[in-house]
Structure formats: structure tokens, C-alpha cells
Subunit: 224 residues, 2 copies
């Protein structure tokens, strides 16, 4: 059966992470899989992403973008929220629970991700600087400050607030950026929280789809 695809997202023609699922299209793919919505993908090159046609869609020249009819959106947080708002499965039905799930989305993007981005910057853009070795532990400790607080709040729960929500999807997406650093493993409940998310069928389908762009091999179950 061919499903009608009304959503189109953009992602990198060649993801800088080599298909590890760390590019931000993964967040949108995962959300679309959680709510069972098929989507088309338009690949953009590193040259195209800086050109005016793409800039009209994304003022900061990044991916992903999202098109649905005459609506064009940028910013993965906003796209995931839009998907969550219009399809069942990513936000609780009760008003207070919904507001709290949205709070976790913002917390992931504005409180937890900034120090993690700073760590990525320290490694990728300043790894060759004379201060790198001495500075890196300071940056890592700022990441640990946030993880410690998050770990304390999560405790032994499966998800941040009741059932899995867009708040968890965004928080896990942010935490995944730390996977290779080893820092995540210092907080066993957070490592388990990420593993629990990676085991979700929707996550696996999204991961396979973004990897297929890199390998050129369609994943099993790839929808065409």
C-alpha cells in the first residue's frame, strides 16, 4: 500500500556524523514514526544549504525543514511540537500533563543541550587550540552539572513525566549526542533511559531511514 505523504523534510545529502543519527533530522523522523505519519525526504548538499532557496525555508541555513501544504517550518523543536500537536501519541490528553511535556521539550533544548553543544564545539572547533586539553574538563563538568540534576529528577521512572512524550523524545535526542563521550554512562539511569528509547520501534525505523541515506541501501521496511 502506498500511503499519501503530505510531509516533506530536508536533511543532509551527506550527514557529518556518518549516519550515527545525531543530525537533527533524526528528531523529526522519530516524531513522525511515533505518530505513524509517512514522509518524503529532500536531500540538500552543504553548498545548497547556504543558498537562497534553502535560506528562504531556513533562515539559519540548517536542516531540518518541514513542509506540509502551504506551511513551511524550520527548527527541530518547533517541527516536533507541530507534529505532536496535530497527531496523537506524543502529548498527553490532559491539559496540565501536556503543558509539562512541553516544558520538558524546552528544558531539553534550552537547559540541557547548550552545555552539550558547547562540549561539541570545544572538540570540533577548538580541539586544535592550545587551551583545549586544559579547558575540556571544565566544559565536561558543566555538562555533568545538568546530567546530575536530570538524573535526580528521573530517578527510577521510565520517562520524565508519566508516559513517553515529545519531552522524552527531545531530551533523549539531546542526550544521544553524549553517547560517544562516555559521560552518559556515569549516570546509569540516564544511560538506561536512552537505551529504553533506542529500543522503541519508532526510533529504530527512524534510525534505519537516516542511515539509509548514508549507506545508499534502503532499510528493511523502508516505505516507498
Amino acid at each position: 500500500m502506498t500511503l499519501l505523504k503530505t510531509h516533506t523534510i530536508t536533511t543532509f545529502e551527506r550527514s557529518p556524523d556518518g549516519g550515527k543519527g545525531l543530525a537533527r533530522d533524526m528528531r523529526v523522523r522519530w516524531a513522525l514514526e511515533e505518530v505513524g505519519q509517512p514522509y518524503d525526504v529532500r536531500l540538500v548538499s552543504f553548498t545548497e544549504i547556504k543558498e537562497s532557496a534553502h535560506r528562504a525555508l531556513h533562515p539559519f541555513g540548517q536542516i531540518p525543514t518541514y513542509e506540509e501544504g502551504d506551511l513551511a517550518l524550520f527548527e527541530s523543536g518547533a517541527i516536533v511540537f507541530h507534529i505532536a500537536e496535530h497527531h496523537a501519541g506524543l502529548l498527553p490528553d490532559d491539559a496540565n500533563g501536556r503543558a509539562r511535556a512541553i516544558a520538558w521539550m524546552f528544558a531539553a533544548l534550552n537547559t540541557v543541550e547548550p552545555p552539550i553543544l558547547e562540549l561539541a564545539t570545544a572538540k570540533l572547533l577548538e580541539g586544535d587550540k592550545p587551551w583545549s586539553k586544559e579547558r575540556l574538563p571544565l566544559v565536561e563538568d558543566r555538562v555533568r552539572d545538568r546530567l546530575k540534576q536530570l538524573s535526580a529528577r528521573l530517578g527510577s521512572a521510565n520517562w520524565l513525566d508519566g508516559a513517553f512524550s515529545a519531552g522524552d523524545l527531545m531530551m533523549v535526542s539531546v542526550l544521544l549526542r553524549l553517547k560517544l563521550s562516555g559521560i552518559l554512562d556515569e549516570y546509569s539511569n540516564l544511560a538506561a533511559y536512552v537505551a529504553r528509547s533506542e529500543a522503541r520501534p519508532a526510533y529504530k525505523r527512524a534510525f534505519a531511514a537516516q542511515l539509509a541515506v548514508f549507506t545508499g541501501k534502503p532499510p528493511t521496511g523502508w516505505r516507498e
Copy 2:
């Protein structure tokens, strides 16, 4: 007339910025003033903010928090969104315009603010480090990359997408953090955009209210 106050926010007993309006309670105060909702303020000390009663409200031990009946929220982006969603004045009525305004909120918090936070960290936490002088220009240039893109998108418009929205409120709140650095003045349309926002009556009332906490003098028009 005494208006019924159903919203309670927390802020610092002594703001580290000395009342310059850069603490994140200002974003929530501004939003509440834009939609004409009175609110109560509960002041917390730097000791209290790390204790379990406050941590129950805010897992990361920060301000602001927001209480409304049996709903408790943290994270300024989420609180402003909640206010915008429930009161007219901060989000367009048409669905696509609303989604785009929300995209600008996320863009402010997850694309524009992170390099600005990094600059603040470089000055406040690493200003005494041996690498500070050589590193600071690199961090400033990462801020300029974002401002240049934002300036190009804003062009000669008054606001980011049609009428003033929660997207502008959040973007301006983020840009205000750069005011003292001088970097904002390199982009005249962005400097004018911030000035245009500071001239809004709602902004002025919010600014006066946060300053009053610091000076101990109630502002003119302070609601009691």
C-alpha cells in the same frame, strides 16, 4: 481595583544582573504584561533555589517557575508558550502563522541563545583563564554568524513574521543579553528591533517590576 491574581512566578531575591532585566523571569513578566494578566511574585534566595522545595518545582534549580492552580511549570520558554496559548495577544490566530511564531520561539532558544550563553560563560566563568583573551574573539564570531543570518531575515521588517508575537518576545529577550557587549550595535536593524521592543508599554511595565525587586521601590503603576 484589585485584580484576581491566579499566576505566581518565582524570581531571584537578588538578581545577579542587578536589575538589568536579563534574568529569565523578565521573559515571563513581559509575556504576562503583553496579555494583561496580573501575577504574584515569590522571591527565592540563592540558598533556597538549590533546596528540595524549589527543586520540586524546578529540576535544574533555576528561576523562573510558574504556578497556576494545580499546574506547576518551569523553563521560561514553556511558561511563555503556556501564557501565549491561553491568552490572546502573543500568537496569531491563523494556524500557519501560529506555527511559525512558535518556530521563532524555538529558534531564539535553541539556535540564537546557545552561542550567546557561551559568550556569557566565557566572560563570567572563564574570564580569568589564560586562554580567555585569545579565545573570546572566536566565541564572539560564532555569535556574529547567527546575528548576521537573523539580520538578513529580519531585513527592514518591524517583527520577524507579521505582527509582534511570542517569537519576537523570546528573540528580543535573547538579544538583550548582548546589549552591553556592543555586538548588537554592529547590526543596526537588530539594534532597532530590540529598541522597538523595549519601547512597548508591556516591556516597560515588566522591566520596572523586576527592577523594583532590586531597588525595593515599587514602580509607578505597580499593581497591589
